[in-house]
């Protein structure tokens, strides 16, 4: 029997607010343990939460970017369970009334496009961090992360393969980062993904029993874990067995998922409306305010780049992988007026330099104006392509302008026709045999003369002029 996977993803994205969701503590990652805590996020007696307005704003941004309907009214609920990283004994989350629902995003994979439904988006607070002692029977709790705002994005069970899941995940990641509401760092846990997966015989409707996968901290691991789990469930089903509804942890090293069975208990979260928080009413004016400030999203940008700059889809795709890269490219184009050449340079040298050092475009030492300046110098014939390579490398290393580098290195193209004619006459004089061959119809020898001319001018000659002069003078 052939099985079809049915996959839904739950994504938790930490929001890039300055403060936590319900108190004024910093939401920054990486501080010393328990230094970003106060009575509110420590869950001390008698303290009360007050909602950070920016969290709602960021949620609306994501809702609009994923075509969700924003509900006029929503509220917070308490999700009750005990764990040392949860200081109040409940997580403030949203339950019955989500703020946004019924959305979708389009993803591409295998050259096809597919629409994945988004069930809901809601806001909640993150839990703290629990660390285990290898040597002592103790665990340690750091509550810095407690109360950092999260949005949870739940997809419909529309995903049918691990690749599709990865493509969806990348799309959401890209949107969140584009909106500048999440830094998208999977290793630090600011972008996390859990998956629900079941198999059903292809062509049938009802869902099979699902497993929930956790602990996948990279795109690659999500894909690998799903691939593994599809095979595992298929094996179970083909052997006449039944898939158990359970939570399974991805083990990156072993490349397998492990059952948490026995270690997790049947949860009864006893959700109820949080009496300490009042309903949130999002009116049209607020939605409009957010919509107006909404940046262009990756897909829109991609299409605009193809249309406005006449560059291929592939180029547009690469150049819009991040908002900063797209901004960089657009600034270069604006300053030099050469979209295609700019695209080649950005996608070529610039990204290569950055990738080699694992740097972000925002850290690129070559200012857009410098790259644009260099492109103009090529277009004007001041430098040739070979020189430009040298210039870009030097610009990346030193951050200097192309003019400064050209002067330093004496990299000005020779465009003096008289001087070049003299050089060429000399070369023709020194190589009678090759001249004979060329004139005898052996066109390939032309390259030899170009090489000789470039060598004689240390590469500074204008290649077009060399070509023209050689043709004319060799013709005799």
């Amino acid at each position: 029997m052939e099985f079809e996977p049915v996959i839904g993803l739950e994504i938790h994205a930490q929001l890039l607010t300055d403060t936590k969701i319900f108190c004024g503590c910093s939401a920054k990652f990486g501080a010393a343990p328990n230094t970003h805590t106060c009575p509110v996020c420590l869950g001390m007696p008698g303290v009360l939460p007050v909602l950070n307005r920016k969290v709602v704003e960021f949620m609306i941004k994501m809702a609009l970017a994923t075509n969700c309907a924003v509900n006029r009214e929503c509220n917070f609920a308490r999700k009750n369970y005990f764990y040392p990283d949860l200081p109040k004994g409940y997580q403030i989350s949203q339950y019955a009334l989500p703020p946004a629902e019924h959305g979708w995003v389009d993803v591409e994979f295998d050259g096809r496009q597919k629409r994945i439904g988004i069930t809901r988006i809601h806001m909640e607070e993150d839990a703290g961090k629990l660390m285990h002692d290898e040597h002592n029977p103790a665990s340690y709790v750091d509550l810095n992360r407690t109360g950092v705002p999260l949005i949870e994005i739940v997809s419909e069970p529309d995903i049918r393969s691990a690749e599709e899941a990865a493509a969806y995940l990348r799309r959401l990641h890209e949107i969140l980062v584009y909106l500048e509401i999440c830094d998208g760092n999977m290793e630090e846990g600011s972008f996390r993904c859990d998956a629900n997966i079941s198999l059903r015989p292809r062509g049938t409707e009802p869902f099979g029993t699902r497993a929930e996968l956790k602990n996948m901290n990279s795109f690659r691991n999500v894909q690998r874990a799903l691939e593994y789990e599809i095979k595992r469930q298929q094996y179970v089903l083909e052997g006449g067995g039944q898939v158990v509804q359970e939570t399974r942890l991805w083990d990156d090293t072993a490349g397998v998922t492990h059952s948490m069975r026995g270690k997790e208990e049947a949860h009864d979260y006893r959700y109820f409306p949080d009496p300490d928080l009042v309903p949130i009413v999002i009116d049209d004016a607020w939605i409009e305010e957010v919509r107006k400030a909404q940046p262009e999203l990756p897909l829109e940008k991609r299409e605009r780049f193809m249309r406005a700059y006449q560059i291929p889809a592939y180029d547009a795709g690469v150049l819009t992988t991040s908002r900063a890269l797209a901004d960089y490219y657009e600034e270069v184009v604006r300053l030099c007026g050469e979209p295609k050449i700019a695209a080649n340079w950005v996608m070529g040298d610039i990204l290569r330099f950055l990738n080699e050092e694992k740097r972000d475009i925002r850290e690129c030492p070559i200012a857009p104006a410098s790259l644009a300046g260099m492109i103009r110098l090529i277009q004007e014939g001041t430098i040739n392509g070979k020189m430009a390579k040298e210039v870009s490398e030097a610009m990346y290393k030193s951050g200097k302008t192309p003019q400064a580098i050209i002067e330093e290195k004496g990299l000005v193209q020779i465009t003096d026709e008289g001087a070049l004619s003299e050089t060429i006459a000399e070369i023709i004089g020194k190589n009678p045999a090759q001249v004979e061959q060329y004139r005898g119809g052996k066109d390939k020898v032309f390259g030899f003369f170009v090489g000789q001319a470039m060598k004689a001018t240390q590469g500074k000659a204008n290649p077009q002029m060399i070509n023209d002069l050689l043709k004319k003078m060799l013709a005799g």
Binding site: C25, N34, C38, L51, K54, H132, D133, R270, P279
Partner: protein
């Protein structure tokens, strides 16, 4: 025995959810008291509440926000001052068995 609302097994389950434990005698007494109380609650089923919106707040309000401005965190020694056990700036708990 009249109308048992909550059995001892359920009492055990609820106690576990609430992270409480009871001695045998205490449990019996609690089960009987909880049954009395829950039976009293049955009164509510007399009330027709069809279409009535549940009232979860004493005063209907909306949209209480704070601005995203960093305020004061506690010095970590104060954050941990009441902790039964702490180490290395963290709250210490018996090992969580995973």
């Amino acid at each position: 025995m009249e109308n048992i609302k909550i059995s001892q097994d359920e009492v055990n389950h609820v106690a576990h959810l609430a992270r409480l434990e009871f001695g045998e005698q205490e449990k019996e007494k609690f089960t009987s008291q909880l049954n009395d109380i829950l039976r009293y609650m049955d009164k509510l089923s007399e009330v027709d509440t069809a279409g009535v919106e549940p009232m979860t707040h004493a005063i209907a309000q909306k949209n209480a926000f704070r601005m995203d401005v960093v305020g004061g965190s506690l010095p970590p020694e104060l954050a941990l001052a009441n902790a039964p056990e702490s180490r290395g700036g963290c709250f210490q708990v018996p090992k969580v068995i995973e």
